[in-house]
């Protein structure tokens, strides 16, 4: 076990050549998407080895989950991937519903789809925007954030919160959509299709400098991606068209028509940082497509009680389940063990997509420039809250 800590660094002194420098991209850094510490062994500007240290944002989610009841875990799940909270609570609610055998009605399912896809667009706005900012283009970040504000306004209107919603409950959702939500959603989609999406593509994705910075680095082959359990846009950027919404549909995704966006290697080898970002950018368009269909469906449905299937006391029988859902950052998995005797879960284990994405970092980072390290982290779209839980 190499647990020698030479002054806080993980490498032993005899492992290091004399002309290499150890550079610490410390926990406080403008571009590491959270408190992440990366130790780099560099030879000038070229990175010879990289070692990420996580755990600065560890808030003991799994231990907390054992001391609150099943519905009480939902606010904790929001705080894991705080940029995409709807996805987290959806995954947990699905897992507990699977454990208890609850099936929600089509009205609640449509609402959940709308919220999940709105959250996906908002999360990708942050992902693509901050990626541009890391590369140096400040302006698209602000444009995308301005458009994300419109989504957050919709969320605030529905459930009162802008970022951490406590929305997807076991068996339903916390608030019904208000009157006029459909109109507002359509308004947002109009603006998204007309302004946000074309602007983003023109200003950022098609920018020559951006392409030059990202299209040749961080190449991840499909086998490596699967072996390191990369999921979501990270996997699709390398080629395999795996999307849980298409492969194992949940909450009614089989009723919607959308394309699974795959990295095409347009400007460089397939599986580069540019491809992963490309998948995220184009996925926003696909989410908008789903939203159009979902909003049309919602309009035609009559209102139902969203708390209809919410059990008064969530007390599953003894059992365990592993349920997966497609969060904006990848496949989010919840392993819930219920011992049947109490109202608290016995064990909740979260497999967060960013955790596995971060584990591939040291492989892809070898031989890059320091500037590319930043581009790599941005392209993997990590949120430290989800890695550290």
């Amino acid at each position: 076990m190499s647990t020698d800590l030479q002054g806080g660094y993980g490498w032993r002194v005899d492992e290091i050549d004399t002309d290499e420098m150890i550079l610490n991209m410390g926990p406080q850094h403008p571009s590491t998407h959270g408190v992440l510490r990366i130790e780099l062994r560099t030879d000038g500007e070229v990175v010879r080895a990289a070692r990420p240290h996580i755990g600065y944002l560890h808030r003991c989610f799994e231990k907390h989950a054992e001391s609150v009841d099943y519905p009480g875990v939902i606010p904790y799940t929001d705080r894991m991937d705080y940029v995409a909270s709807m996805g987290n609570s959806l995954g947990y609610a699905l897992a507990v519903e699977k454990l208890m055998g609850i099936e929600v009605g089509p009205y609640v399912q449509t609402i959940r789809v709308i919220m999940a896809e709105l959250q996906r667009i908002a999360s990708h706005c942050i992902a693509v925007g901050t990626y541009g900012m890391d590369i140096g283009a400040f302006t698209p970040f602000l444009h995308l954030l301005r458009d994300r504000e419109k989504i957050l306004d919709l969320f605030e209107w529905t459930c009162g919160a802008r970022l951490l919603y406590n929305y997807n409950w076991v068996g339903g959702v916390s608030h019904d959509v208000p009157e006029g939500f459909v109109k507002a959603c359509r308004q947002f989609l109009r603006e998204f299709d007309a302004i946000t999406y074309p602007e983003m593509i023109d200003l950022l994705i098609k920018n020559k400098i951006f392409i030059k910075r990202t299209a040749g680095i961080g190449i991840c082959s499909p086998e490596l991606a699967v072996s390191y359990d990369l999921t979501g846009p990270n996997l699709r950027g390398s080629g395999p068209p795996r999307d849980l919404r298409r492969d194992e549909p949940y909450i009614g995704y089989e009723n919607y028509e959308f394309e699974v966006v795959v990295g095409e290697g347009k400007f460089g080898p397939r599986g580069s940082c540019f491809d992963r970002n490309w998948v995220r950018a184009l996925e926003m368009k696909e989410s908008a497509k789903i939203l159009h269909q979902a909003v049309d469906r919602l309009e035609k449905m009559e209102r139902a009680d969203v708390h209809e299937k919410v059990p008064k006391r969530v007390k599953p029988a003894k059992g365990e389940v592993y349920a997966r859902s497609e969060a904006p950052r990848g496949q989010l998995g919840y392993y819930i063990v219920a011992d049947g005797t109490g109202i608290n879960p016995y064990r909740v284990k979260v497999k967060s997509p960013c955790f596995t994405a971060m584990s591939i970092f040291h492989v892809l980072a070898k031989g890059m420039y320091i500037a590319d390290i930043i581009a790599l982290i941005g392209s993997l779209d990590v949120v430290l809250g989800e890695i550290d839980r």
Binding site: L23, H29, P30, E45, G136, I195, R213, I370, A371
Partner: protein
């Protein structure tokens, strides 16, 4: 300076007149130089705001006009932190060198036919030489900070500035070939006669390319985006000035904006006619020459373009930057030197291509018309969007 010299009374001894003239010039220049960045910082934040669909500073003073002054006051009162292990003498000396390198160039900038502190007959050479002092200052800043990030920034900056000086100077050579003198005042007088005589439109495709190369290399000299890796915020926190706070940081800031202005003025003098108006009729209003106004207008529009580029483009990686300097700009500039030199020596084209006379007068109105069209179209589009959103 001659102007001031002549204005001083004859009664004083010669050395006193010279000394006093020098002091007065220095005071005027330093005042202008120090006031400039205040305006630039405000304009930059406002431009950044408008490009990013937000307003920018608006609270401090009417329309946020006093924001920079507030920033300057804050920076002056901030604690000057010296990092542990930093070489204190070098640490303090570094920002001084950078500022000096930027400010010294003001001495030869011609603001009018007689408004120039010193019309050195090696004016252009002097500007290039003196702006290299800043490089030494940057490296000192990086080394003396005792910080790996700062060192990285300094090394990158040194490599970048040194590499981009070469195409810049080569392109300057093309202009010098056309004029035959390094004195900036002579260069301006050689463009006398209106818009079509400006060097930007000489040998029509060649000199505009030279202008673009000079402007790009100048951007790299100032460490401005897209070449701002030495101070890349997202990678190196703040590059070579990571460890500087308070007034030292203000000095680096000052130096950067001043350098931007200097590069813009040099570009205007060399290519855009300096203090010459586009048409001789516009040169004077009665007895008052409008030279300085024209030069400042040209320089400020180039500064605006620099700011525009900063907020639009991502930054290049260090090896891509070097690639652009050595494999793209340098060969083109070498070809330009040879071509322009050859064309100037060959009698039929000694004064430019036959179509140069119209190039300026056709292109400039086209450019302004295009800009006006873009502005009008943007306003109409945004008005339409506002109407749509209200619906």
């Amino acid at each position: 300076m001659d102007l001031v010299f002549n204005l001083l009374p004859e009664a004083l001894p010669h050395w006193a007149r010279v000394g006093l003239a020098g002091v007065v010039c220095a005071v005027i220049l330093v005042t202008l130089m120090a006031l400039g960045p205040i305006a630039y910082v405000y304009v930059e934040t406002k431009i950044a705001g408008f490009m990013q669909d937000r307003i920018g500073p608006k609270r401090v003073g009417p329309h946020g006009l006093l924001q920079t002054i507030a920033d300057a006051v804050k920076l002056m009162f901030k604690e000057a932190i010296y990092p542990a292990g930093a070489d204190k003498k070098l640490f303090i000396l570094a920002p001084c060198l950078v500022v000096v390198g930027a400010f010294l160039s003001f001495v030869v900038l011609p603001f009018g036919s007689r408004l120039q502190a010193a019309d050195l007959n090696v004016g252009l050479f002097y500007v290039v030489a003196v702006s290299s002092i800043s490089t030494v200052g940057l490296i000192m800043a990086g080394w003396a900070s005792n910080n790996k990030y700062a060192l990285f920034g300094a090394m990158r900056s040194a490599a970048q500035i040194v590499s981009y000086e070469i195409p810049a100077v080569m392109v300057l050579l093309t202009v010098v070939t056309l004029v035959g003198s390094l004195s900036l005042q002579d260069i301006v007088w050689a463009q006398h006669g209106g818009l079509s005589r400006w060097f930007l439109f000489r040998y029509f495709p060649l000199m505009p390319v030279a202008f673009v190369i000079f402007f790009t290399a100048g951007l790299a000299e100032c460490n401005r985006a897209p070449f701002d890796i030495p101070e890349a915020e997202s990678e190196l926190v703040a590059g070579f000035h990571t460890e500087y706070s308070g007034f030292f940081f203000a000095m680096f800031f000052l130096a950067e904006y001043t350098e931007m202005f200097v590069i813009s003025v040099v570009a205007s003098v060399l290519f855009l006619g300096g203090w010459m108006a586009p048409h001789p009729l516009l040169q004077q209003v009665g007895p008052i020459g409008l030279g300085p106004l024209w030069l400042i207008a040209k320089a400020w529009s180039l500064v605006f373009v620099m700011m525009w580029l900063r907020w639009t483009l991502p930054r290049l990686r260090v090896d891509q930057l070097m690639y652009v300097a050595w494999k793209v700009l340098l060969p083109i500039s070498m070809v330009l030197v040879v071509a322009v030199g050859g064309l100037a020596l060959w009698p039929p084209t000694a004064n430019g291509f036959p179509w140069d006379r119209w190039a300026g007068w056709i292109l400039t109105p086209l450019l302004f018309a295009y800009l006006a069209y873009m502005i009008v179209a943007a306003r109409r589009w945004s008005a339409r969007r506002t109407r749509e959103m209200a619906a």
